[in-house]
């Protein structure tokens, strides 16, 4: 019997506590977010309004409207997007067996970004813009699928390469749009939108993004056990009754639904899909059954907090993509070092 067999993994033993604590963290973050803002509203009043909302009529006063029509849909959207992006990232890292993978790798974000930028250039806004972004996100995924399909099969490596190619293509198209855009008008709008923001969140936009994100989220969570199997090699997976290729594409489509919907309403928000799953693994381990719910809760809380900072720290709206990068990059560096220090220390 080997010495290391008895060494239990050095992670938080209280796994069973992790999920309830994360849920509490999310609830706290959302409550904080709803009571914080540039417009001075007494926090207790805000809570009162929230509790009374389902029974009251349409919001009348400025306070009510700010809490219920500006903050509430925005916080919900941030939470939903954070959960969706984190779960999408965790699922992709599982399927690709690579911890450096993020939703960008499938080319969906650049595709959706192109759709949104095109809408801005053409002066299209609202539901049509969301639709355009979502459509191009899916088109990018389709292009990746067709490009990577060689001899009736798609290998993981070819999918990553195809994703790079399609992502680069749409990135170039976005640059082209910026080139022809009016420097006075649509160009700054496109640039700002690309940096990501929930500033335009309304109940209507939440309604446009929620179905895609929620559907992707729910189904990916239902696949959490299956994701353990999808990380096995082909022979092992097949012998266990799994159809790896088909199921991988199901995961990709769900990721596309989440990312496409999110980019369509709020531009490119990066780092969540990359960093949150790592933090989740440090808390609950690699088993996707625990990881996906943990990532969802952690991602939601993180994005709610960061978005609240983006809209309250200064009178300007700080672009969200900038904040997630500024916070995400060092956090990722720390996680990476801890993670590998653990592994190499054994």
């Amino acid at each position: 019997m080997s010495q290391t067999a008895l060494a239990l993994p050095r992670r938080w033993q209280g796994e069973a506590l992790a999920l309830p604590l994360l849920a509490a963290l999310l609830a706290g973050a959302m409550l904080l977010a709803l009571t914080a803002g540039r417009f001075p509203i007494d926090p207790l009043r805000a809570v009162e309004m929230l509790l009374a909302a389902p029974f009251a009529g349409a919001p009348e006063t400025m306070e009510e409207r700010i809490v219920l029509l500006v903050r509430l849909p925005r916080v919900l959207l941030a939470a939903l997007a954070g959960a969706g992006l984190a779960v999408a990232g965790a699922a992709l890292q599982g399927v690709f067996r690579n911890p450096l993978v993020a939703p960008q790798v499938l080319g969906i974000s650049p595709g959706a970004a192109f759709g949104g930028a095109l809408a801005i250039l053409l002066g299209i806004s609202g539901a049509l813009m969301v639709g355009l972004a979502f459509a191009f996100g899916l088109a990018a995924l389709l292009a990746v699928g067709l490009l990577a399909r060689i001899g009736g099969r798609t290998e993981i490596v070819t999918v990553i390469l195809a994703g790079l190619v399609i992502g680069a293509l749409f990135g170039a198209l976005v640059s082209l749009l910026q080139f022809v855009a009016d420097p006075n008008g649509s160009l700054p709008a496109i640039v700002y939108w690309l940096m990501g923001s929930f500033a335009s969140a309304t109940w209507e936009r939440l309604g446009l993004a929620a179905p895609g994100i929620a559907a992707g989220l729910v189904l990916l969570l239902a696949l959490r056990f299956r994701l353990n199997l999808l990380s096995l090699d082909e022979a092992e997976a097949r012998s266990l009754g799994v159809r790896p290729e088909r199921e991988r594409w199901l995961v990709f489509c769900l990721v596309a639904a989440i990312v496409g919907s999110q980019v369509a309403v709020s531009g490119i928000v990066g780092w969540i899909g990359l960093v949150i799953p790592h933090a989740g693994r440090l808390l609950v381990g690699h088993d996707h059954r625990a990881l996906l719910p943990a990532a969802a809760l952690l991602g939601a809380a993180f994005l709610v907090i960061v978005d609240t900072l983006a809209r309250t720290v200064t009178s300007a709206e700080i672009p969200l993509g900038v904040l997630t990068a500024i916070v995400g990059a060092p956090v990722f560096a720390v996680l990476l070092r801890r993670h590998y220090r653990e592994r190499f220390a054994s």
């Binding site: 067999a5 008895l6 056990f225 353990n228 990380s231 266990l240 009754g241």
Partner: protein, 251 residues
């Protein structure tokens, strides 16, 4: 039951399997022997249903208890979670393992004598322990077919003994059809009822292990002269073994 029926496999212009047929019934155990590159792996993959056949067909269930040769996993899962993967077939795409599945996984782990490893991180285990865990996973599938790719190879002697002993016990229980490939004719002799030799000329020889694991057939297979040796087992009974002649003559 698992097997192939006149299976033909071509890679480009090269024919790797020429109309290969074999069957392993439940309660029997078959070892596939052969030098590298003669189609052992291909035959195994074909039996698993992974290899498209140019002709012939595969016989066997969809879900097979498969123990791969390589024991590394992409993610450092917990041992119990690895074994739990074996329950996937019964759960469908969106299913989550329930109490019954957990119990089955625990039972399989206990069966291979590794229950004490349940909470350990898989990537911290030794090669032998990992193979035991993968065997437990294969058992957890509940399939009546076990397929192993070179079990015990790349393990140290102590772990080899453990794994092979376990396979022998499983064989004696007569509950599974066991198919495995091996480099070692003595391994085949120890734990297989029948042997399938994939000969250098592309043909195949099949028969009981006791008959085929003998100097002449093995010399034809490996092109190396072999010598028969008689051993006395721990139980006092005689056992045979074959060794390459270049090791020397028996004293």
């Amino acid at each position: 039951m698992i097997g192939l029926e006149t299976a033909v496999v071509r890679f480009g212009g090269r024919i790797v399997l020429r109309g290969l047929s074999f069957q392993v019934e439940r309660g029997r155990s078959l070892a596939i022997l052969g030098p590298n590159g003669r189609g052992k792996t291909t035959a195994l993959r074909a039996a698993l249903g992974l290899q498209p056949l140019s002709a012939g067909r595969r016989i066997g269930p969809d879900v097979v208890g498969y123990v791969p040769q390589s024991v590394s996993l992409a993610h450092p899962y917990r041992v119990l979670d690895v074994v739990a993967m074996g329950r996937a077939a019964g759960l469908g795409l969106f299913g989550q393992p329930g109490a019954a599945d957990r119990a089955a996984a625990e039972a399989a782990l206990a069966r291979v004598g590794a229950a004490h490893l349940r909470e350990a991180s898989y990537d911290r285990l030794s090669g032998g322990e990992r193979q035991l865990v993968l065997l437990a996973r294969a058992l957890a599938t509940g399939s009546s077919v076990l397929v192993l790719d070179e079990p015990g190879s790349a393990l140290d002697l102590a772990n080899q003994a453990r794994v092979l002993g376990l396979l022998d016990t499983l064989r004696r229980e007569r509950r599974h059809a066991i198919l495995f490939t091996t480099h070692d004719p003595n391994q085949a002799l120890a734990i297989a009822d029948d042997v399938l030799m994939l000969m250098p000329d592309g043909g195949a020889q099949q028969g009981p292990a006791g008959e085929l694991i003998a100097p002449e057939p093995l010399c034809g297979l490996y092109g190396v002269e072999m010598r028969l040796v008689r051993l006395i087992g721990a139980d006092g009974r005689f056992r045979r073994a074959v060794l390459p002649a270049f090791l020397g003559a028996v004293e």
